[in-house]
Symmetry: C2
């Protein structure tokens, strides 16, 4: 497994485990220059993204990952990930299918953070 | 509409129209450093990607785009696009849902090309 694939795998597990257990703890993954597109609503910057995630209209959520693929970006500066999955919210019995694209890049200290995050529920 | 959104919209229309009418004409969108992940199979470089697309086991294909979203990448160097859609192949009556992530970047001459392309059929 290439290094970017190992990083992607670890990130995807961490992201959804955190989302499902305590999504306010996702905040450190976003920085000032981060962008989130959530069902066509675009939000920029870590604090606004954390607020958007916290305000989503459900209490309980459980993601199931059906597939994910990753590729390095130009110069190995980042990692692009496409996740396809399903999620259950609150007491809902029918899973909602979704696709989500991330780009991880490194900050000056060498820590990975989310520059791009696009989430789409599938019709 | 921001410039990256206009580029993304034009690209998505061009890509799927070309794919559905004559997919060998997609070859100029890929360069030596391009990557395609197609249902977990990873192919690198324009000629190998063109060969992979040409060898897909169907004659006729029709993509329907259900949604697409785009974001700029660090420094505005690229554009990330997440498309969700459905496709019909040959005489098949049941559409297959898919998600696809692209990253467009500019070559030294200023022309956009596909650095990253990840295609996933959805279960």
């Amino acid at each position: 497994m290439a290094e970017y694939e190992a990083v992607a795998k670890q990130f995807v597990e961490h992201y959804y485990n955190t989302f499902d257990s305590n999504r306010s703890a996702l905040a450190p993954l976003y920085r000032d220059e981060s962008m989130l597109t959530f069902q066509s609503a675009q939000v920029g910057g870590g604090p606004a993204i954390a607020e958007k995630l916290a305000s989503l209209p459900f209490q309980k959520v459980k993601h199931q990952i059906n597939s994910f693929e990753s590729q390095p970006t130009p110069g190995g500066a980042g990692i692009i990930i496409l996740v396809a999955g399903a999620l259950l919210v609150d007491e809902e019995q029918n899973p909602l299918n979704y696709a989500q694209t991330f780009q991880l890049v490194k900050d000056p200290a060498g820590a990975w953070f989310l520059f791009n995050d696009i989430f789409s529920l599938l019709v």
